[in-house]
Amino acid sequence: MTEVLFFIAAIGAISGAVGVVWLQNPFFSVLALVFHLLSLAALFLLLQAQFVAAAQVVVYAGAVMVLYVFVVAYVGAAEAAHFKAPVGGTQRAFAIGFALALFVELAIAVLGSGLAALDTGGPTVRIGFGGPEQIGQALLTKFLVAFEVASFLLLIAAVGAVVLARRRGGIHEEEARVSAMAFLRPPGAGTMAEAVEGRVGTAVRGLGAPDTTGEPVADDAETTPETVR
């Protein structure tokens, strides 16, 4: 029974991984990755890692993949012309050869290992192994520093993503106009007052294509009341 479940989950994981690389449409790649992650969760369950499997399904296949789907839907429709085929020629051959060589090397390392325990199914573990109780106890006692550093890392990543992706933020080069109102309600933050006054969109300047086709872009930043004041 375990063998059957293992082979079903392993074939699902590998086919999902191949689908991520093979499919041309990024949306289908994301769906293939969701399938891959669900198969991996089954593998984790077979390895007595219940909590990690549950976190994989809820956090990874749920939340992170929803983020991916949002970005693909946001970027994908307008930029379909830029979704090119994978690289061809020598780089493709080199990449496939590199991947094959890496797999052969890893397989030699695994199968030729001197670890005798690799040929067993692992020791028998007690009933709560891999459950939330043991994971929580390890995280809050032995790995407390890693736990806290991970929380800081998540905070920094969230702030960084907001700074990068907000309108008129991040990598735009334009002189900052500092006022008290700009701290409370920065221009381009997408507040309701801006939407009512029609000041939505990002002023396009600097390098990049100057064509502003697509969404209605209000790039007359000089006439907005924000800068007149």
Binding site: V20, S29, V75, I96, A99
Partner: protein, 99 residues
């Protein structure tokens, strides 16, 4: 099942992800292939945790998942920022840092 089998699956998924990173041009798909490589590492970590009957490898896998979530967050923020500047979403054309 023997632990060997899980490690071979891990190696195979890692190599598929590495090949994808090298062959795809869309930064979104490159990020997806990076996810594949991180997940392959997670399978190996959890297989070793099972092999030793020890919980610590699973804690390591959870930390790897946190780091992967942060990487996705920043990577997708960069993709959105690139899109807002009307630059081509193609890692072959965004090569200013290459020198």
């Amino acid at each position: 099942m023997n632990i060997n089998w899980y490690l071979v699956v891990s190696a195979l998924v890692f190599c598929i992800g590495a090949g994808g990173v090298l062959t795809r041009r869309n930064p979104l798909v490159v990020l997806l292939c990076l996810e594949l490589m991180l997940n392959a590492a997670n399978i190996a970590l959890i297989a070793y945790a099972r092999m030793w009957g020890n919980i610590e490898g699973q804690v390591f896998a959870i930390i790897v998942m946190v780091v992967a979530a942060c990487e996705v967050c920043i990577g997708l923020g960069l993709v959105v920022a690139i899109y807002r500047r009307r630059l081509p979403i193609d890692v072959d054309e965004l090569r200013e840092l290459q020198g």
